[in-house]
Structure formats: C-alpha cells, structure tokens
Subunit: 341 residues, 4 copies
C-alpha cells in the first residue's frame, strides 16, 4: 500500500501534538506538513523536545496544504470553518477535531456556540466522526467532524440503551470527570499546578456545550444533565451516567445490549455487571471501557465509561477515522492497550 | 478554665493521628493517654516523625482510661462497642468516630453493617454528632456517634432543602468523590501510589454503608443513590448532589433556605448561586463549603458540598463536639480557613 | 498581653496569603490591614474563598500603614525597598520576606540581583531572620530580612558542621527539590498542571540567587554548588547535601554537633544516623527535620533537610520572628507538627 | 520476515506487564507464553483489564518454554538463575531483566547481592544489555543481562566523559530521582498513595545495589556516590550527576564527546549546553535525553539524564536487545517519542 500524505494544523496544542506523535509512528502515513499560527518556522522537536527527531518546521495555518491527502485540524471552534473551504477545494479530505462540523444543522451549532457558521454549504459533506456508529458514511466523507471527548464517552455509554428502549429518556444525569489536558494549554491561574493539584472541582454545571452534542447523538430524543469536573491528572475521562431502567428490564438485557452493539468493536470493551472500569484502564490507549451496576430497589442503572480524552476523545479517534477513510485496517497505528502504570 | 484530660484510642490510623495532632495544639486539652493495639509501647513521635515532640507511648486499647474526661475512639466499626461500656462505667464521655453509635435504632446498624450490636443498651445515651443539627443534645451526651465523612457533606447539603420541602424526595443522586485518606492505611495493592495516582474510579456504586446514614439524617424520608469515587489526592470530599426542584421553587428560595439555616454556623459557608466550591477551599480546615447551580429548563438543582474528610468529616468534627460537650468555644483549636496551596 | 496590630503587603501571592491565614489564627495578633497592588478593594475571602470570614479589603501597597506595629512584606525583590523607608518612618517594625534586606553588604545584593539597592542606609538596621542563629539581634531589630526558603534548609543543615570544622569547605553540593508553590502564582505555561504534573526538572543549575545567600550564612567561607529542582507537589523542600568528612571525624561527632546546636530549638528536629527525613514530616508545620548518612569508604556525608517552603521557608519563619520581636512565646500560633496525610 | 515466538516470565509485576504490552504490539513478535507463579491460570486481560484482548493465560514460571525463540525474565534477582539453565538447554535465548546476569564476575554479584550465584557457568554466555555499548556482542549472545534502570541513566551520562578523560574520576555524585513504578508492586505501607503522594524522600543513600553496576560500566575505575530518591510520579528517572572537569576541558569538549558517541543512536538525544531535560521528555518513550551545564568558577559539570524506568530502564531496552538479537530494526515496536502530556 502506498503511504498517504498528511498535514496537521494546530500542532502547539495538546491534541495537535498528540496527532503528530501518532502520525509519526503510523506505518502508512508520511507527515509532510504541520501548521501553527503562533510558531511559524519553529521545528516540532524544538517546540516539544519529547518529540525528538521530528524536524518538520511549522507553516502558517493558512498556508497551502495542497500536497496533503488528509489534513487534520486541531483548532478552536470557529477557526476550522475559515480554513476548510480552501482545503476542500485543493482536494484534501479533512478531519476537524473542533466543533464546527459536528452538527449537520447549522442552527444547532449557532445556538450552542453563540456564533455564526460561515461555511454552512460544507455541512452536507461532513459526517459525525464517532467511528463505531458512522463508519460507513465516514469511509467516503470529504469532511469528518470528530466528536468531543465527553460526548464520545457519553454516547458510547448511552446509545445502545436508549436505542434499545431499555432506559427512560428523562432524568438522565452524566457526572463526568476529566484530566487537565482536556482544559488545554491556555494560560490561566486556575490551571497552575499549585492551584489544581490536590484539588478537584465542577465547572459549567449548566450549559456546557457538549450537552447539545450528547443530546443530538445519544440515540433518542433526550435532554441530559451534564456536569463536568476537573481531575488533578494528566489525561482521561470517567463519566458516571445515572439512568432509570424501564419496567421489566433486567441486568441480562443490559449485558446483551452492549454485547450486541460492541462485540466486534476493537476499541470498545464491555465488562461484567458490577465491574466498573477505572480511568487507567483506558489512559494511553484508543479504547473505551464500559461497565455498569444496577440498584434494583430504585430501578437505578449506573454506567461508567472511561477513555483517554486525547486519544479516543480526540487525536486517536481522528486517526481511527483516517484509517477508515483511507481503507487501512482501523486499528493501524493505534494502541488498544493501556500501560499498567 | 481548667484543662480537660483526654485520651485517644486507635492512633495508628489517619483519623486517630489527626486527632492527636489537633488535641496537642488545643489550648484547653491535656492529652494524657493514647492507645493502639498494634503499637503498644511505641511513642507517637516514633510512629509518626511529623508529630515531633509528642513523646506519649501507646497503651493497649483495652487498658484503663479512667483518668480521662473524654475519650475519642478512632476504631473500625464493631470494635468501639467492645470498649465503650467500660469507658462509660469509668466515667469518661466518649466520642466514637466509627459507626457503632450513629443510629439510635440497633436494627438499622445491624442491617447496614451486617453484624450484631453488642451494646444496644448504650444507644439511648448516644447522640448523632452532626454538630450543626444536634448541638443541644450533644452538650449533655455521654456518648457521641460522630458522623461519617460522606454523610456529613451530604446531609449539610440536603437537609435545609428537604426539611424546607424545596426539592422532590425521590430521584436524589449523590455523586461523591473522596481523597485517599478516606480509604485508610490498610495495605491493598489498589491503594499503592503506582496504582492509584493518575487514576480515578467509582467503588461500591450500590449499597455503600453511608447510604443508610444519609437516608436517616437527610431531613426527610428519602432513598438516595449514593456513588462514591476515589480521587488521587490526599484529603477532601466533594459531593455533587442532583435534585429536582419542586414546582414554583426559585433560586432565591434556595439561597434563603441555606442562609437561614447556616448564617450563624462558623464552619459552614454558603456561596452565591452559580459559585461551586472547590475541594481545596476546605482541605486543611474544619469547614464545609456549599454552592449550587440551577438548570431551570429541567428544574434541576445541583448542589456541591466540600469538606476535609479527616477534619469536618472525622477528627475535626469530633473535637468540635468535645468543645460543645466541655463548654469551650465551639471553634477552639480548629482551623476555619484552608491554606491557599 | 495586649494584641499587636499587624499589616501584610502582598497578599495575593502564596506567601502573603499564608501570612494572612497564620496571623488570623494568632492569639496575640490583630490583623488590621492588608495590601495588594493588583487587588485594591477586594476582600480577602473573595480573593481566596478558603479564607472564609476574613472580610478585610485590600489597600494599595503604598497606602499608609501607620496604625500597624508590625508590617510584613511579601513582595518581589526590589519592591520592598521602595516601601520600607516610609514604614520605618511611620514607626512600624518590618519583616521583609523578599531578598532586599538579607545582606548587610549592599554590594552582595547588587551583584546577586543585578539591581541597584535604593535603601542602603537602612541595611544597618536590618538583621538576617534565620531565627535559630540571629534570635538576639532580631529581638530589637527594626527590620528583619527573612531568609529564602532554600537557604533556610541548607544553612540549618550545614552550619553546625562547617562552624564546627567537621567537614571540608570545598566541593559542597546541595541538590535541592522544591514543591511548586515556591515558584509562585505567576502565569507561565511551564507551571500549568498539565505540564508539571508527573514531571520533574532541574532549573538554574548554575547561578541561582539563593547560592549567594547560602554561601554568606553557611558558617564558613564556602562556594557551594546549588541545584534546585521542581517537584510536582504543592509544598515542601528537601535538600540533599553532599559533604566530605574531615579526617578523623566520626558519626558520633556529627550527632553531637547537631544535638548541641539544636537540642533546645522547638522547630528543628534531628534524627538518628541513617534516618533521612521525608518531605511530609515537615509539610504543614514550621519545623525543619534533619537527618544524615555516612559512606565511610568515601568519607562522604549526606545530610537531608526538609521544611515547608511557605512556613519555615517563608511565612512561618516570619511569624516566628515577629514572636521574637514582640516578646511572645516563639512557637505561638505556629504548628510544630505536620499532618500525617 | 517470519515472526519470532516469545515468552515472558513474571508478568504480574510492572516490568513484566509492560513487556507484554510492548510485545503484543510488536509487528514481528508472536507472544506465545506468559508465566507467573502467583497467577497460574489467570488470563492477562483479567489480571490487567487495560490489556484488553490479550487472552493468554499464565503458566507456572517453571513450565516448559521450549516453543519460545526468546524468553524474557522479569523476576526478582536470585530467581532468574534458577530458571535460566533449562531455558538455555531448551534452545531459547534469554533476556533477563533482573540482576543475575549483569556481571561477568560472579564475585561482584555475590558481594553486591549478598547471595550465592547458582549458575556461574552460564555467566560466560551472558552480555550486559546496554545496547548502545554492547550491541555487537548482544547480537549473538545466548543470554542478555538487561541493565538496571538507574545504571542505564547514569552510564549513558558518564561513560563518554570518563572514557574520554574529560572529568575527574573521584568525587562523582549521582543524585537520582525515580517514579514509584521503580519500587514495584509489592505491598508496603510506605508505598500507599496516601503516604507517598505529595511526599518525596531519599532511600538507601549508601550502598544501593545499583552503585556496583554503575561503577562497573561507567567507563573508568570509579566509586560513585549514588543516592536514589522516590518521586510521587508513576514513571521516569531523572539523574543529576555532579562531576569535576579536568583542567583545560571546555564546554565544547563535552558537546563533542556526547555528539560523537551518540549522534547515530536512535534512542539517545543530546541537548545544547544549558538545556537540562525534563522527566516528561522521556516518559512513555524508549529514549534517554541528556543535557548539561557548567559552572566554570568551580570547574563543576552538572549532567542531567532522563529516561522511562519501565522502558529504556527495563522492558523497552529488553525489546531493543531482542530486536538486535533477532536482526530486526533496532527501533521496531518501540516509541522514540514521549507524549507531550
């Protein structure tokens, strides 16, 4: 197989740098171009000494990426839509890690992000990049709107249950906890180690933008309560989802629903009832682990989903989508397993 | 004022060692005796070099503590009830940090802890030690059953709302997160730093014993869903409580309910709507901070409570209770403020 | 005893906030004024919700502090010297936590800090605030130049040995490790939790400014190699000092030298040979713990000193000095013991 | 190329589990057998849910490994020598991650580990597995004695300098700091997260067994002072080495010595003078980063080496050696780059 030529725009952030690391190890990828507004001319291994040997220098973000077969955008929402039209025109297929191309309906984007969508005409070419659910459409898509980290965890947990009618649609609560890489590299006193280490807090308990994305793709018409928290760890998301079982639904039905949906998925691992996955089972891998427990007396179902916010929640899933688009084996260049320690 | 003579049994655990530290600084306390089954003859400053200068050596736990006015028990549940009768007979007043004397009804204890209660006749002499609610009874109580760490957080958050009829009684969810000192000093591979650092996990999602204590003292007849998680930090509990507002209840009603109940409490701090307290606001202090947010479209109320599990959640509240019992100022020897870093 | 009236300038930094916390609990202090250039008008409990109940609002740093008996300056070096003359003129005694008044010889300051000293005439009124060594002079001093955090650890470790002629003066190496609160609250990408957590690094291996301070006060004419490192913890300094024993010096001589010097010091704890203190033995206390080991075959002496950089290394020692100046018991309001966890 | 058949004995420890993770991803390896005394019959993915999909069950350690071309031993010292003779007899080539086959002279082993060597006759067949220095001998070696984690860092830092005569041989100090995975999975109260988190300490300041290994392979006859410390992080070693420059040696000579020795090494990265590598530049990769600074006034050279103790310091270097032995590209299946976060 011939290697594909790949570019990444936005390499100074954590997701962009993680993309570079993954792509540099991918056996079928030639990383030919990296872009960063704030670091034009800087070499990757100078920006990040841990990426030793990657001597590519950053171009401007709006430079030509015409030589690329695939371009990844790791940019703040609102920025991708500026660059995307010219990339598409130049013939590249684009995987956008931001929010601009996640909703087919521009109105949902505009309401959620309180901004005008300037590339509405391209939304029809875009597919939501939750690989396990949109694989067939991704294969041919010119644009993939890669999911948010929290929605990836929540949707993988909820969708088989909601689609199967096993749980009530109202009263769903997602209490999610994320490592700090999810908060990005922007400077803020509240993100200093001295302020955040040995600390823990909820943030945006009402109206976090990922709520709309979860509601959109959860598998039924729902309006979830979604409360994210910040963990004093580097990576990882653990989402504790509280659901109500519909009358007559048994533990075995839940087991079966997950098994049926995910048995053949290389990156989704379902555990026995009562086994709740720990954060570290996923951190460092592109996998999502799912487990659940039931309190029969309250008909309460508690589902825990864990994943690595920079891998399955961002760069890893983006590469998984590129593998699908390019016809490579879906797991190529992506770790299924997490280090023990 | 004359100093009171105090003993602590169970000083090798975190709560017991914290009691020793607090009592050694207390201006009205003379620490005269410390006990530990596993360390008879060892000096405190040898067991814990950070407690430099406390040269008291450990007695056996079942030794005589007759010289003590007050005895604190920092022992596993089921053990306190063995020692308590002789302590009471010898004239000491006892503050038990374990679960044995938290329920006036022995049947609740026996069901919850799956064990026989061997000192049922003493339960009538015991008062639940949530100081803010049982202060008057504590003043004269021979025995105080000091609350669990999670229940202290949950009850302080829920009780003004439930007692005031502001929220629905069903569907209450408490998603709680605790630092590892809450898990104790017992050896377990899962508590090694290498296994727990950069990790996070739920545990006992159904049937944690503190559930019964919360239900008992929450201020109304409720059956909460309580899911504890383990944070990779030393100390602190953050409980995220999900409630449903009763029709017609407004943000201002919540503000008022908390203000009325806690305005004069030195160790409870209520924040403005939308301000959710962080773990570190409480860690190192005997304070509990409360904050909340409302999602009007879902009539959802989210209350966050934080406290230090070893202080307000254990040793600090125990000293607060002793202050009440001895007629000392309630805040004596107890930090209201937490270090910034 | 009457309470003294105290002010603190620079309360938005970690040392300043820690001073406020300590002084608010001090039984003989009335905290009457706090200053902060960047937060004029803000209340302390708004800046730091963990300092609940301290409702004092910040003045400008250059406001009048005439009502104060004692003023603490927690300011960057070079700034204290601007404010100090007027404070002295107004009759306050000043404890400066910065470097401006640590050297009696202005030339040493100017060389080390590459800046002009604008208050040279006040240097004669200033005493170096290492309490254990300059207690008598501190008692009457108008100005105390409170030591740096690293020098406090290093000098307490080295001085009995160098003054006693037990170790060689050349080849001394101090490999020191500090928690991140030592790096301050300034915004820097390298201090984000995501960059520093699970990380560790040396910085300024040659020419760190504390080197001059150590050389000045180590007890003999020395030129040490001093290499600081940044630990991914909140607080604490551990200094590993490498020395060469003079011929004929035995383990017992070292034990004796430390015992003689520090036996009566409430905040210095010397451990048995071979027992090396851990960081946590000191963190949260105003104590310094010292321990050592000897490799006889190489005549190598390894001394480990630990302390809390914000307490004995900054705010705690400053309060200790105020206690000495005011004639209060030296330990008043200061914790000798560290929490176990 | 045909795949090689590989076995790992000792998979329940961190190094063993890391070997399994690496080998499962290696494109030329078929992992056919895993062994663990304490977990016979358990599947790898049950022992470590993060190793999802590796369904191999553990054999007894002394079972036959005859089908294996290569066997890795991740066992405590003293145990490998029991199993090794039969493995060699059965035709396997063995990479031992323990200490039993690191010294060609049994007397050095016996003195250092205070134990009898029961397989002295096999020492002649063994090569020290520091790939960068013994590559040619490793290629054909029946047995490789894989280096210790600390020695790998120290020797890579010191050897070009000592071999080149650029530094004095006496007075060398190595102040090393390791993440807790280096301390293993054994149960010990001192390794509980609650005891070690936010903590830091030196251990075995005199006589740590790795001292002998460093002295043996440092490139000249030396007797270093080696003091290890335990960092509250998962992985990584940072060694700060203090050396004295020989008269006339300049910064440029150091640069050149490193460049000459390591320019073609894929896993050793030398930085510009004054740039000291951080722990995270290496953690997660099989690379070692080297940097240095010079204090000319004291002729002091400070070299900092960082690596991942479980990769270049253990399992990664073991796979690197297997690649050499099997004639695979040396970097096959091994990450050169570390994640940014």
């Amino acid at each position: 197989m011939e290697k594909v030529k790949v570019g990444v725009i936005g390499v100074t952030g954590y997701a962009g740098a993680e993309l570079v690391r993954l792509l540099a190890m991918h056996p079928q990828v030639e990383l030919v171009k990296v872009g960063a507004r704030s670091a034009v001319g800087c070499r990757v291994d100078e920006l990040f000494p841990g990426l030793a040997g990657i001597k590519l220098a950053c171009s401007a973000a709006d430079d030509s990426y015409a030589e690329c077969d695939y371009v990844f955008l790791a940019l703040p929402h609102g920025v991708s839509m500026e660059y995307l039209p010219q990339l598409i025109k130049a013939g590249a297929r684009v995987i956008d890690l931001g929010a601009d191309f996640r909703f087919s309906d521009a109105a949902v984007y505009e309401r959620t992000y309180e901004a005008v969508h300037s590339a509405k005409d391209l939304l029809g070419m875009s597919v939501y990049g939750l690989t396990e659910y949109y694989r067939d459409a991704i294969r041919a898509a010119p644009i993939v709107g890669n999911p948010g980290c929290y929605p990836t965890a929540a949707i993988l947990a909820l969708r088989p249950l909601l689609a199967g009618g096993l749980v009530e649609k109202d009263g769903i609560i997602i209490d999610a906890k994320s490592g700090v890489s999810g908060a990005g590299r922007g400077l803020a006193q509240e993100r200093l180690l001295a302020e955040l280490n040995e600390n823990f807090r909820a943030y945006k308990p009402v109206g976090h933008r990922h709520t709309a994305e979860i509601n959109q793709y959860a598998g039924a018409e729902v309006a979830v309560t979604f409360t994210p928290h910040l963990l004093p760890v580097q990576r990882g998301i653990l989402a504790t989802c509280y659901l109500t079982l519909r009358p007559g639904v048994e533990v075995g039905d839940i087991v079966e629903a997950y098994a049926e949906r995910y048995a053949d998925e290389p990156f989704v691992h379902c555990h026995q009832p009562g086994v709740l996955p720990e954060l570290r089972w996923a951190v460092g891998s592109n996998s999502c682990h799912l487990g659940f427990a039931v309190d029969r007396s309250l008909r309460r179902l508690i589902v825990v989903a864990v994943l690595d916010n920079l891998l399955k929640g961002a760069a890893g899933q983006a590469v998984q989508n590129m593998n699908v688009m390019a016809g490579f084996p879906e797991t190529m260049g992506l770790p299924i397993n997490a280090p023990i320690v």
